[in-house]
């Protein structure tokens, strides 16, 4: 949209007269990322979260499905740090297990979306013509359908399970990455080094994965980093509405949903999973922002 401007007097000034050592894009980007404190804090939080999730694989303070280990609806106490839910299950343990689900859903969805999006986007952008036409139409059709409703329906029809939830989520967010990759491919394929590669007889696949993809990697990584919180949010929505992963699996959304019922009595049942969700989503978003600021080749000033 914004027209590319000829260098302004002062910009051109600063960049042309300062003869400094030019770090490569990655080193420069990492340096900028390190300076972004919010992104760093977020990264630390997420690492901790991942550790908690891994720990939960083998140990939680109480078994997550054990009913009645604490008085029902009880608030935080010495033996139950986050209190208990309406069936007397320890909330902390359930939340730890919930972390697993959320992270798994997020990462798995992101991986699938990355795979599909890259393949589709590269194909559409590189081969253009009718291939692009068909793919773009499909993408537009998918865009024309409200995501949550599709996911809802998919889960209803296919049944409630972890796999189905991941499939449903992926099916509704892959278009953004595909469109991004397509756009990048379209512009990158005109670059000189692609011409050079083709002239020297490189095969299409090699060009795609050896030249185009590495150069589009920056925005792709950023986009995928934002897919993760979307997926987690999605899953939370589905669980909240009662159509997500079936009980007794403790997902944060499901626990929050239970918490709403008991809002007046024991607000902590809604509060803690909501906090966990919010912090995790915040962390991913800050990190994504940081990544984008760090690796976006456009100068800000």
């Amino acid at each position: 949209m914004a027209v590319v401007a000829a260098p302004r007097a002062d910009q051109e000034f600063i960049s042309s007269t300062v003869v400094r050592e030019q770090a490569s894009l990655w080193r420069d980007g990492l340096r900028r990322l390190r300076r972004n404190r919010l992104a760093l804090v977020s990264a630390v939080y997420l690492i901790l979260l991942a550790i908690v999730a891994l720990v939960a694989l083998v140990w939680t303070p109480y078994p997550t499905s054990a009913i009645g280990v604490a008085p029902i609806y009880s608030g935080p106490s010495g033996s139950h740090l986050l209190g208990a839910d309406e069936l007397g299950r320890d909330l902390l343990s359930r939340l730890m297990a919930g972390a697993q689900i959320s992270l798994a859903v997020g990462l798995l969805s992101a991986a699938i979306v990355l795979g599909i999006g890259v393949v589709v986007g590269l194909t559409a952008g590189y081969f253009r013509g009718w291939v692009d036409g068909v793919i773009s139409t499909v993408i537009n059709i998918f865009y024309g359908i409200p995501a949550l409703l599709v996911a809802l329906l998919m889960v209803t029809v296919l049944g409630r399970s972890f796999t189905n939830v991941v499939i449903a989520i992926s099916a509704t967010v892959w278009m953004d990455v595909a469109r991004l990759v397509r756009g990048q491919t379209l512009s990158l394929r005109e670059r000189e080094y692609v011409e050079a590669a083709r002239a020297s007889g490189a095969r299409n696949l090699k060009i795609l994965f050896g030249h185009i993809l590495p150069n589009a990697l920056g925005p792709i990584i950023v986009a995928v980093t934002f897919v993760i919180p979307s997926a987690i949010l999605f899953e939370a929505f589905l669980s909240y509405l009662g159509v997500g992963i079936p009980p007794p699996t403790p997902t944060w959304g499901a626990i929050a949903s239970e918490g709403v019922q008991a809002l007046r009595l024991s607000p902590h049942i809604l509060l803690f999973p909501s906090l966990a969700l919010s912090l995790t989503l915040l962390a991913f978003n800050f990190l994504g922002d940081g990544l984008r600021d760090a690796f976006d080749p456009r100068q800000k000033r």
Binding site: A6, A9, D10, F13, I14, S16, T17, Q22
Partner: protein, 365 residues
Amino acid sequence: MTRPLLEVRDLNTHFFTDDGEVKAVRGVSFNVQPGETVGIVGESGCGKSVTAMSLLGLVQRPGRVVHGEIIFKGQDLLKLNKKELRNIRGRDIAMIFQDPLSSLNPVLRIGFQINEAMRAHNKIPRRDISRRGIDLLKQVRVPDAEHRIKDFPHQFSGGMRQRAMIAMGLSNKPDLLIADEPTTALDVTVQAQILELLRDLNEQTGAAIILITHNLGIVAGLCRRVLVMYAGEIVEQGPVEQIFDSPQHPYTWSLLRSVPRIDSDRQERLLSIEGLPPDLIDLPVGCKFNPRCPFRVERCFTEPPVIEEVAADQQAACWVTMKRAYEDMNAATIEDTSPGAASGVHPRGLRPEADPTAALAESPQ
């Protein structure tokens, strides 16, 4: 002697960046007479655009005018408040820019943008403004002005866009028009047309023109006087023919020699100036050109030269001057123009200079 329209005295503009203080314009002083055409010439990054922007107070963060006076029709522009400065902008002093595609708002019609300039400074009824807009477009020789005035910038060609910008600039009959590289983004043939237009407008309206460019040929075509800038300073100024005939500063001399000339001997090699302009955060001591100057002497390394009269109405800032270079250093038949080649003077135990070849090796890939 009439009072100058514009007197710039000791202008200093610096940029306070994360990497350091960039001293973009240092001690620039010059005058512009009413109706005069002055060119400011120099390489990219020498400070010519920043100088122009400083005149109108358009320098944005992190840049700032740190010292100096800009006396326009008796008033120091640097002492005006925002409102007063705004009144001058677009009305008494107008500025047009390099790339007319990006310098025009893409979502507003051309006519609107021209009329806007007038509306901001005059309280004339809309119909009169519209008519004047069409007249302006005609004046800058845009064909079919009545219809084209309703077009959007992307519907104009490059040359026409620049004409529209000129129309916009002249709409309030300014006393001074500053043109920052107005032809750089255009084809050569269109360049000639625009220059001719500017020349005619200068004669018709009597508006003074400051033309900023890196292209010497353009200066020759339009301006009566020229200022040569290097690394944020004026190194030479004077009447155009005189400077072209006998440049006194080695930089000017080198510039002129590096321009291919139709009448030159085909065997003569095109000479380029070795090296790169200095780092404006970390400037060398003494003359800023000394790392690249073939005629430098010892004094050039320690003392920055002061601008002095070197011929009638011509000033240069150099300890050597081409006069001496011709007399003592065989400048007329010089072959090797690498730094210090003609004078044989190289830094010894003095502040190590920025090695031009090292800078090239580290250039961005």
